[in-house]
Amino acid sequence: MARLLFFGRLADIAGGAERDMPLSPAIGTLTQLREFLAKENSALGEALERPNIRAAINKALAPLRGDFPISDADEIAFMPPLSGG
């Protein structure tokens, strides 16, 4: 079971901040996960396409595009622009 985390406005669009989801063998990269989510929820798919979205796998930043591998035990976070201070 992978854990997906959506921060900021992405949680509103995803319909929740957290989601536990088994990753089928067809979802082996971040891009494949994004494509899967876009099929379910086109607004979320579009939001995750925006260039300022960042992803972290197990709390380490990972490139959102390309074939960064993910596995069924991962915590996968999608983050809109950060704003501390």
Binding site: F7, G8, M79, P80, S83, G84, G85
Partner: protein
């Protein structure tokens, strides 16, 4: 030291860094607070979301980068999350150094880095509802400035 917490913090913590020390020439500190008006919109509350673990780890990295770049003796970064109201302090940054230049530079670098690099997401609550807010273009420019400064000084490795 860095801390991320829901509880309010004591502003006087800014000065604990120099307590009992006699080698400190300058302490610079900054307190960022919730304003009742941002970009012309009234604000009744601000909710800061964070990513437990990742947020601390990222702020620790900003802390370590400031320590490496500036001649500071010590620093304290305290950042709140959760629901806050106008007037409430959100963040405290304090640095000490032998001279004022490094103390000021260190504190400002940390603040600039937090603004665009610390994993928090802000939702403003106002009379017209809620809205997520993002860094201003000035904030991105301020962060980028340090990259330029370091490149110009040949210290960026």
């Amino acid at each position: 030291m860095i801390r991320v917490q829901a509880e309010p913090f004591d502003l006087a913590e800014a000065f604990t860094l120099q307590a009992g020390r006699t080698d400190v020439g300058g302490l610079a500190c900054f307190i960022g607070s919730v304003r009742d008006l941002t970009a012309g919109a009234n604000v009744t509350a601000l909710e800061l979301q964070h990513y437990p673990g990742f947020t601390e780890q990222t702020i620790q990295r900003i802390h370590d980068e400031a320590a490496a770049r500036f001649d500071i003796l010590d620093q304290l970064i305290v950042h709140r999350y959760g629901k806050m109201f106008p007037g409430d302090p959100i963040v405290l940054v304090s640095t000490i150094s032998t001279h004022r230049e490094a103390a000021f530079d260190g504190a400002r670098f940390v603040m600039d880095a937090l603004k665009t690099g610390a994993p928090f997401w802000k939702k403003e609550v106002g009379p017209d509802g809620e809205r997520w807010i993002e860094p201003r273009s000035e904030d991105y420019a301020a962060s980028a400035r340090w990259v330029d400064v370091m490149a110009a000084e040949g210290q960026d490795s």
